[in-house]
Amino acid sequence: MATAHTEDRAMVPADAQGKPFAVATTFYSTTDLVDAIRAVRKKGYRKLDAHTPFPVHGIDEAMGEKRSKLGYVIAACGIAGILVAQGLQYWTAAVDYPLIIGGKPFYAVEFSIPITFELMVLLASFAAVFGMLAFNGLPRFNHPVFNYSHYARATDDGFVLVVERDGNHFEPTAIVELLNELGGDNTEIVHEDA
């Protein structure tokens, strides 16, 4: 277990590092990562995460991830945009302060279309971006996975597989062995505090 630590990490007193959070390892190709995920899941580990520099094809399937539900939020906000735009144009021009301009009707579907479209796009885009951040729990500036000494490869050229602690039952040494067997590099036990 201690051998998996890097030098500086080993010098930190064990109790200061908090509970072990996970075992992390690095692969150098997408296929190795996806194969390893399948193998680890076969062994019964369910709480996995992978950190990759770009979205890896087929990873959701291997990890048993469900489809993102973000689409429903976006659709709801897009519909809200349509309703807000219609309500705004009708109520302000035809109800609250009707004003004859150029002999045009106070409200008509035709001239309400451009603003309706724009507000639909605007609210749906807000939902897409802020919904994505909310679903991902971002912004979040601290996360135990950053304690993995080779984490930086995950935004460069490494594919980091993390087997997280699932409840109280956690045997890191067995996982380290398994990941090393699967060809993982720099396998390491990652703690909650650095």
């Binding site: 997408t30 603003i115 749906a124 971006v129 601290n142 050229d157």
Partner: protein, 466 residues
């Protein structure tokens, strides 16, 4: 695209590159992409960069001085007057907004069409969109003379006069269209940036790490992240595609909904959108040709990208030329005196030189792009893009000022002359645009690192099947 498979240790000879080369030339490893893009941000700014920044920011200051002068004095300092009430300001507005169309076209429409070559250029093009929209917004806002008093008829909020907006006016649609376009383009750009800012964060130390860490919002590249991210990005692309088409359509409504000959025509929306894409690609090419050379990223933005962009430019040039022809044909065939006169006046009236410059720059100058040898000749392509930038400015000037200067009533005819404030405000806005662009290439990864890596991974996967 099996020909893109890895060729280890091939050092490309920049003088002998052909357009058959892969999307990412040389040895496309993930780390090489990280290195070549992050290096631009991490290296100390060069003397050339500082020199350019000194020039562009000085020019930008001219803009601020001119706007201050305008606010302090009144919009009479511009040459606009009856009958030419819209002149350089709205010409510049439409020109800048048009330039802002290439970014979203490249990032959204080419994304949905799975045109993977976009990955190397979409980030810079999107940034240009943002900066162009910022430059564009200056003109109508300052045309109100007292922008802070214009808020109550621009934005819907309950004000003390208890008045609301006139939603029947295309100008109001324009406020919503341009502000939505600016906002959504910013979001799209920023979402694309998140993983790349995280890459820089993980390479940096000290204060830089804090700053890039803050702006990357703690991105971890987790599989859960990517799942929602990819959906959000695709939806944004899907929303931006009709949005980008709507913006210039709505800008064209500013004219088409009026009854002025030369403006009152149904061809305007598609004609404006094609022109916008044309001018946008012109400007993107102008800047990227310089940037790729100056930053030594010719292996990432290859001749293939330039070739493709030239083809888009050529196609839209054809559409624009066809639109000109249609306008003149309908003016003749429609047999409406005012309309016929307006177009005759364009070709032979006092502003004949503007019309013929427009036709030469937009229709004739891009014609050599039919030849592949021209498209791979950087110097010639560069000159053509300059013609396109100039030609598209003239197009807006022709439509706006020439239509206005001789309308139905001959007694109110006049000639338009810009003042020095018009000219300096325009030049100043180019300074603002270039200053923002220079800051962008120095502080933000100018190539979408994560996307380029994704493209390489696809090639590796495909290569394995062959």
């Amino acid at each position: 695209m099996a020909d893109i498979a890895i060729k280890p240790n091939t050092q490309i000879d920049l003088l002998n590159t052909t357009i058959d080369q892969p999307l990412v030339a040389g040895e496309p490893s993930y780390h090489m992409v990280t290195e070549s893009v992050c290096r631009i941000v991490e290296d100390k700014p060069t003397k050339l960069w500082f020199a350019l920044l000194a020039v562009t920011s000085s020019v930008m200051m001219v803009l601020f001085v001119m706007l201050g002068y305008l606010v302090a004095t009144g919009i009479g300092v511009w040459g606009n007057n009856i009958p030419v009430a819209w002149a350089w300001d709205i010409t510049n507005f439409v020109w800048w907004i048009g330039i802002g169309h290439a970014g979203t076209l490249i990032s959204a429409i080419l994304f949905l069409l799975r045109q993977r070559w976009r990955t190397a250029i979409n980030r810079a093009a999107e940034a240009m969109t943002l900066f162009a929209v910022a430059c564009a917004a200056i003109y109508p806002v300052f045309h109100t003379g007292r922008p802070w008093r214009a808020v109550y008829w621009l934005l819907p909020y309950p004000n003390t006069m208890q008045m609301w907006l006139n939603f029947r006016s295309p100008l109001e649609w324009d406020v919503f269209a341009v502000s939505t376009y600016g906002t959504v383009s910013l979001l799209f750009w920023y979402v694309g940036l998140l993983p790349d800012l995280a890459t820089i964060r993980d390479r940096a130390t000290g204060l830089r790490k804090q700053i890039y860490g803050f702006f990357s919002l703690g991105w971890r590249g987790s599989a859960h992240h990517w799942k929602h991210y990819e959906l959000a990005y695709m939806v944004l692309a899907g929303l931006s595609t009709p949005l980008v088409l709507s913006v210039h359509s709505i800008v064209s409504f500013d004219f088409a909904v009026s009854i002025l000959p030369g403006w009152h025509t149904t061809i305007f929306p598609p004609y404006f959108v094609a022109g916008a894409v044309f001018s946008g690609f012109g400007m993107v090419l102008t800047l990227l040709i310089i940037t790729r050379k100056a930053l030594n990223i010719e292996h990432l933005i290859t001749l293939k990208h330039i070739d493709y962009m030239c083809k888009v430019m050529l196609a839209t040039s054809m559409i624009v030329g066809y639109s000109y022809a249609t306008e003149y044909f309908i003016a003749w065939y429609g047999a409406v005196n005012g309309e016929q006169f307006a177009f005759f006046n364009r070709l032979t009236g006092p502003f004949w030189w503007a019309t013929w410059s427009m036709i030469f720059c937009n229709v004739v100058a891009p014609l050599p792009l039919w030849w592949a040898s021209v498209r791979s000749n950087i110097a010639v392509v560069f000159v053509i893009t300059i013609f396109v930038n100039i030609g598209m400015w003239f197009e807006r000037f022709v439509i706006i000022s020439i239509s206005l200067h001789r309308d139905f009533l001959p007694s109110s005819w006049d000639y338009f002359r810009p003042t020095y404030v018009d000219v300096l405000t325009y030049i100043g806005s180019i300074g603002l645009f270039l200053t923002l662009y220079l800051m962008f290439i120095k502080f933000v990864p100018m190539i979408a690192i994560a996307e380029v890596k994704g493209a390489i991974a696809q090639d590796i996967e495909k290569g394995a099947h062959h």
